[in-house]
């Protein structure tokens, strides 16, 4: 296993009611490739904040984040989000006036990563792999169920051919059966597709299936044995 993401002395705070609230305190951690991580923690512990920082949606007050030994700030957060990572959200975050297929194609058109020439064919294949057949792929996303939308979101996260996939409560809106399916997909991504998957969740059942469970507590990440 090789290191893919390294967090060094990450600090993050914000002002709340006139008081500074420290969320992350000198947080350091190293994620390895081809693994499925889950981050657990009580509400308000800063799980989502941590995810937004390591996904390049926000910047820490201090500390560094290295992707494959490269400082992501120096790389440029836009470029980092475009070419190195993808994010799956609880609300799926699909563009509502596009079809499932087109949502996947958006990610493919934005990345600078090398992709097969026929984007459409690749997108259909990806969607099908996650249970979205062509007829559904061509529907507007608003006509798909929650589980189907989340599958489209996962297909989109894979479409740009990145190695690191983040997910923020990806099963929060799904029933138990679908949750299991989606978690299975994440596992598959890590083990069969060689991706690193980092999922923020409060669900023990989700974390139980991950390769490595982490707890965010008092601003620090610790492995849960």
């Amino acid at each position: 296993m090789a290191e893919i993401l390294r967090l060094e002395n990450i600090n993050y705070s914000y002002i709340d009611g006139g008081f500074e609230r420290q969320i992350l305190k000198d947080l350091s951690y190293t994620f390895e490739d081809h693994r499925f991580y889950t981050i657990l923690g009580p509400s308000g512990s800063g799980k989502t904040t941590l995810l937004s920082i390591i996904a390049g949606l926000d910047t820490p007050k201090s500390g560094k984040i290295y992707y494959a030994d490269e400082d992501i700030e120096k790389m440029g957060l836009g470029k980092y989000r475009r070419n190195k990572i993808s994010i799956v959200f609880q609300q799926y975050n699909l563009i509502n006036y596009l079809t499932g297929l087109e949502n996947v194609l958006v990610a493919m058109s934005e990345t600078d990563n090398e992709l097969p020439k026929d984007h459409k064919q690749v997108a259909y294949a990806l969607l099908e792999k996650f249970g979205i057949v062509k007829t559904k792929a061509d529907r507007m996303v608003s006509q798909l169920s929650g589980g189907e939308q989340q599958r489209v979101a996962i297909a989109r996260s894979l479409a740009s051919n990145v190695d690191l996939i983040f997910a923020d409560e990806p099963t929060g809106n799904l029933d138990t059966a679908t949750e299991k399916e989606i978690v299975g997909v994440f596992k598959e991504l890590a083990h069969e597709y060689g991706k690193t998957v980092i999922v923020v969740t409060h669900s023990d059942s989700v974390s139980a299936l991950s390769d490595q469970r982490l707890l965010l507590s008092e601003g620090k990440l610790q492995d849960i044995k």
Partner: protein
């Protein structure tokens, strides 16, 4: 699925929003087309009418300014001094730079005079009553001894148009045509060359050809006789005789009409067949020679006379080198006003350069008002359009924060997001404006004509002008080179139509509106934070 495709999908799939925007652009487009159509029709009508007019600029003594100046003087001595020594004249130096302008096609910087016939030359006869009295003009007076002394004077037979420019408007406009030889050159003007062009009728009458010499008296030779005004001045017949080489023979289209009312009383010099064309410098030089000879003679005759003994009073070239008035023909009627604006500033006091546009300006006033009004409407609509579209786009952004957050989270650049919004607006604008071109064309003509009729009625421009009416009279002395125009000329040229230029303008304006309208929303997009948007959604 790049930003352009996303924009296309957004426009086609969010139809209610697109249709509302389309209607907005359609209405804007109609207003702009009507405004631009009317404005361009007004400008085109003015340009077309101006093109029909001759590109003539006149440069002359400003008698109105002189009257005003003299009226402001209270001291009679000052007034006398002004009339005797300060009265303005246009010298050749005043027009040298003006005539050197590239826009000058030709010019009549004329010195006009009359010549008298010599024994060798017969003028072209009109065989009318005036000719019968030609040689019978007699003047009598009583001398100091009480004797009546009568003298016969000769009337001039030839009219001379002497130009400081090596061509004439008449030749450029083909009312005169050289049938043999050529016009005099600038070099000949500079050298006071003894050359002339004569009408074909005069040449035929006297059997003259190019290369022959033709002779005139510049002054009545009778005036040299004892008792006449040039007697005892030292001036001889040779001094007043001009022997000119014929370098050109020309025809003209100004034949005298024997049925005209004044035919019987036209003197030979009023017959265009007796008009001699020659360099103005040649006449000036000859005139200077006579005046200097006269001055020198009197200086010798009256050694005690203060005036004649002062060399400063001896006639100089400056005294004779002046131009009655200058008519300049430019190569483009549309250059008349810029030309006058440019050169009219540097001319001497009491002279005026005139674009001869007064009537044109008066008649085109309704069109100017119309054009101004139309342009005002266009800009008002454009400004309003920018405000409306900016507000609509900014408000739409609020509903699309989520989409922007998604795009930012997958690494789309903010510039591409702005570009997507621009394309969305531009696509709708192009469709809206394209439809409005059809409807705008239909209404623009009708509105344009109705508004012009209203303008003409309310401006009172179609009422008769207060100027005193002078019947048309083409005089050999004073040729009118300007072109008369009427309101019908202008209105006849006024036609509102949607030209390719207007279509291009409307698309450029439309895209300009979109571009400006997207500025504020763009700044908003640049400030968007994907984390905040997405975390709020989640």
């Amino acid at each position: 699925m790049n930003f352009f495709n996303r924009a296309l999908k957004n426009v086609t799939r969010k139809l209610s929003k697109s249709i509302l925007l389309l209607l907005t652009f359609f209405v804007i487009g109609n207003f702009v087309i009507v405004g631009l159509g009317i404005s361009q029709a007004s400008e085109n009508a003015k340009i077309a009418t101006r093109r029909k007019m001759r590109a003539v600029v006149t440069y002359e003594i400003d008698y109105d300014a002189i009257n005003e100046y003299v009226n402001s003087l209270t001291d009679q001595e000052e007034i006398d001094e002004f009339y005797n020594n300060g009265f303005p004249r246009i010298s050749i130096n005043d027009v040298t730079d003006i005539l050197a302008d590239d826009r000058v096609l030709t010019a009549n910087a004329l010195y006009t005079s009359q010549f008298y016939q010599t024994e060798d030359l017969d003028y072209v006869h009109l065989n009318n009553q005036a000719e019968e009295q030609m040689d019978q003009t007699e003047s009598c007076y009583i001398d100091m001894d009480g004797n009546e002394i009568c003298q016969t004077y000769m009337n001039p037979a030839f009219f001379v148009k002497a130009n400081y420019y090596p061509n004439m408007i008449e030749f450029v406009e083909n009312s005169f045509q050289i049938v043999d030889g050529r016009f005099y050159t600038q070099e000949e003007i500079d050298d006071d060359a003894m050359v002339a062009l004569i009408p074909q009728a005069l040449a035929d009458q006297n059997g003259l050809r190019v290369g022959d010499t033709v002779s005139f008296y510049t002054t009545d030779p009778n005036s040299l006789a004892q008792g006449s005004y040039l007697a005892d001045t030292g001036i001889t017949v040779d001094d007043i005789r001009l022997d000119l080489e014929i370098i050109g023979i020309y025809t003209h289209n100004q034949a005298v009409d024997p049925s005209s009312d004044n035919y019987d009383w036209l003197y030979p010099y009023e017959n265009p067949d007796n008009m001699v064309l020659m360099p103005a410098t040649t006449i000036a030089a000859q005139s200077l020679k006579i005046q200097q000879a006269s001055f020198d003679h009197f200086a010798e005759l009256y050694p005690d006379d203060e005036y004649y003994q002062d060399p400063a009073n001896r006639p100089t070239e400056e005294l004779v080198s002046y131009i009655s008035d200058v008519t300049i023909l430019l190569n483009d009627p549309l250059e008349v006003e810029p030309f006058v604006a440019e050169h009219g500033q540097d001319i001497p006091q009491f002279t005026v350069m005139n674009a001869n546009n007064d009537e044109f300006d008066r008649l085109s006033r309704p069109l100017d008002t119309l054009s101004l009004f139309a342009n005002f409407i266009v800009w008002l609509v454009v400004i309003n359009a920018v405000v409306i579209i900016t507000l609509v786009t900014a408000l739409t952004l609020k509903t699309r924060e989520y989409e922007i957050g998604v795009l930012l989270s997958i690494g789309a650049s903010k510039f591409k997001i702005v570009a997507q919004f621009f394309v969305e607006l531009a696509l709708v604008a192009i469709i809206g404006f394209t439809i409005s071109i059809g409807t705008g064309s239909l209404v623009a003509g009708k509105i344009g004509e109705a508004v012009l009729d209203y303008q003409i009625t309310t401006s009172g421009v179609n009422e008769d002008s207060d100027d005193i009416y002078y019947p048309d009279y083409e005089s050999i002395w004073d040729t009118d080179y300007t072109t008369d125009i009427t309101l019908d000329d202008l209105v006849g040229e006024y036609s509102v139509s949607i030209s390719p230029l207007i279509i291009l303008e409307i698309y450029v304006l439309g895209l300009g509106i979109v571009l400006v309208s997207i500025l504020i929303p763009s700044l908003m997009i640049m400030r968007f934070n994907p984390k905040r948007i997405l975390m709020n959604q989640n």
